[in-house]
Subunit: 348 residues, 2 copies
DNA sequence: CTGAAAGCGCTTACAG
DNA sequence: CTGAAAGCGCTTACAG
């Protein structure tokens, strides 16, 4: 099956290949009638430009790189989903890449990839987007970058983000409103700048309420389930344990929940638990987790948009803020503690 | 930064571009000394061939397509991880694709993608690999395909698989050995042929043991958490409820666990629960889930290998079987029911 | 507004 | 075993 080329289309439409190219790429300087006629032929013949020829002759390609630190985490899942949907709608393809920070030659390997791939753009997810040296490599290779939720040098590249700090405040205020005063906090992986922002939101909400957080109620985690489990064991062991624990992400919150179950502490009656992310697993827990819905899917889609329809370069880096949402479920809501049947999820 | 081209390398090595090409691609007909010398120059200059030029001039590209039905499921996560690691080691890149079966024009869209991408190979994950019409499209576009765990026409393409049926037998035998006789079963999504194989393994183990499974103890699920939850509610409502439930995957087993928690049924004392997959979340449950470890990461890596180092075409389709493993955890082990602290996971 | 020419960096097909 | 020529299917740069 021989694929159609731009020449076939040109012949059929009675114009030159260059004109077809103009129409396909939405360039200016084509008479409306001609543009329409060509577009019709393209559609009729179901013509699809050869991506490699495009990539070879122009500097930009149709491939968008999605860079993850840990492609197996639930966060990566959401981002992948959002990016995939949008990329496909825009005729782009997604190449998944990791950065091998654990190897001394990660720079060389990244450069190899970039040389070989000629990406039309790259999305950097946390915490990758916070590495100056890494961003410099993309700049050197002229690969446009959009960062998701970067924490440093925010004006260096376009970005999509949400207000982690305000979200953590909101969650803390929810717990305070439920009557909790001894609220424990499990910090996230220090490599992620979001960890600090969430901590600040928690701290501010507490002090604004007139409570100085008890450092014996603060534990360090690293965003993994296991770190949440260990943190909770420490926090709950004390003489005056917290009545609520706010973990900086859902996986850790699940760890806290497991520690509570293991210690036969009733949730939420004796211990309220809150997470952050609204990962799929937040609804697979028992009781279901109160959390902050991060618009990860939407942020990823927006990042694709920023790469594909780049706004004119007026020196100002676009920054798109997306809203978070407090999702209150049974893990922090005493009146619901006896609820036997979880609400059905909508869709999958 | 101007990337090196094959000409630069050729000049430096004192040979023609064609010879460099031969060395890079491991073709025959190059004197060993020359081969070595060229290889050295390539390494020294850190030369990376332009993937688009390659893709344009040859029919095959360095891109491998990874096709998912549901890229957000935990299974997809494991496969992605395995494929990513291997692909990167072999200098290939991974393009993630979904098939839009929910649209009437999914065929056209898939063909567009294939025309544009010129994939060097494709990995089809279940249940995508069981669609005859879909495989035909790949054949028409000359894209080599490796299927993971296909259930139909197994000799049509190379494949990587594990014995779901034997694994389900093993799990069932484990539950029988724990003294269970009234064992409930939650079937998986009928679109996945693995669902049937797991059911058969269960059925055989039961009948071999002399027990005809009680159909009131069998429920239909679809591999989602929610379906497991609903299935368990049905199974546990009966007059003579099962003392153990074997769910066809971990997400559903988690649903069963949640239903049990909601109904205040002690696990594993009053109800043992087993899953299938050994997804990450199997260890995030309380109690942790007994399950079958599917070598998803390894199967994905093996699939990449089959695509890259294709065995000579002697008419026999390669089929690689990987071993499963029974992983017994607290959800089915009464003696461990009082264990308060879950074992630390190794690594993340 | 439109098109003819040149070229992107490889590989294929062919010649020696 | 090695290389010169042609070509893959687009886009860039230029001319009109």
């Amino acid at each position: 099956m021989k694929p159609l080329t731009i020449k076939d289309v040109a012949r059929q439409a009675g114009v030159s290949p260059k004109t077809v190219s103009r129409v396909i790429n939405g360039e200016a300087h084509v008479r409306p009638e001609v543009r329409e006629a060509v577009a019709r032929v393209v559609a009729e013949m179901n013509y699809q430009p050869n991506a490699f020829a495009r990539g070879l002759s122009s500097t930009r390609s149709f491939l968008i790189g999605l860079f993850f630190d840990d492609p197996a985490c639930s966060y990566a899942n959401d981002v992948l989903l959002g990016a995939l949907g949008r990329a496909r709608a825009l005729g782009r393809h997604l190449v998944i890449e990791t950065v091998a920070f654990d190897r001394a030659d990660w720079r060389e390997r990244l450069e190899e990839s970039l040389r070989g791939l000629r990406l039309g753009g790259a999305i950097l997810t946390p915490p990758i987007g916070d590495r100056d040296d890494l961003i410099a490599i993309f700049e050197r290779h002229d690969v446009p970058v959009v960062r998701i939720a970067p924490g440093t040098h925010t004006a260096r590249t376009p970005r999509v983000w949400m207000d982690d700090r305000a979200a953590a405040r909101t969650m803390t205020e929810h717990l305070l409103a439920q009557g909790h005063r001894r609220i424990g906090f499990v910090r996230g992986n220090p490599q992620h700048t979001a960890s600090e922002r969430r901590w600040m939101g928690f701290y501010e909400a507490m002090t604004d309420f007139g409570i100085v957080p008890d450092m014996a109620h603060v534990a360090q985690g690293d965003f993994t389930f296991r770190s949440g489990l260990l943190a909770a064991e420490t926090l709950l062991r004390g003489a005056n344990p917290p009545s609520a624990i706010f973990a900086s992400n859902d996986e850790m919150a699940l760890g806290v929940l497991t520690a509570a179950s293991a210690a036969q502490i009733a949730v939420p009656q004796s211990l309220a638990i809150a997470g952050f992310d609204d990962a799929q697993l937040a609804r697979m827990a028992w009781p279901q987790l109160t959390t902050i819905r991060q618009p990860n899917v939407e942020m990823a889609a927006a990042a694709i948009d920023l790469l594909v329809d780049r706004p004119p370069d007026d020196g100002v880096m676009p920054a798109l803020e997306l809203p978070y949402e407090l999702v209150v479920r049974a893990s922090s809501r005493v009146e619901d503690a006896r609820e036997v049947q979880p609400k059905p999820q909508t869709g999958r």
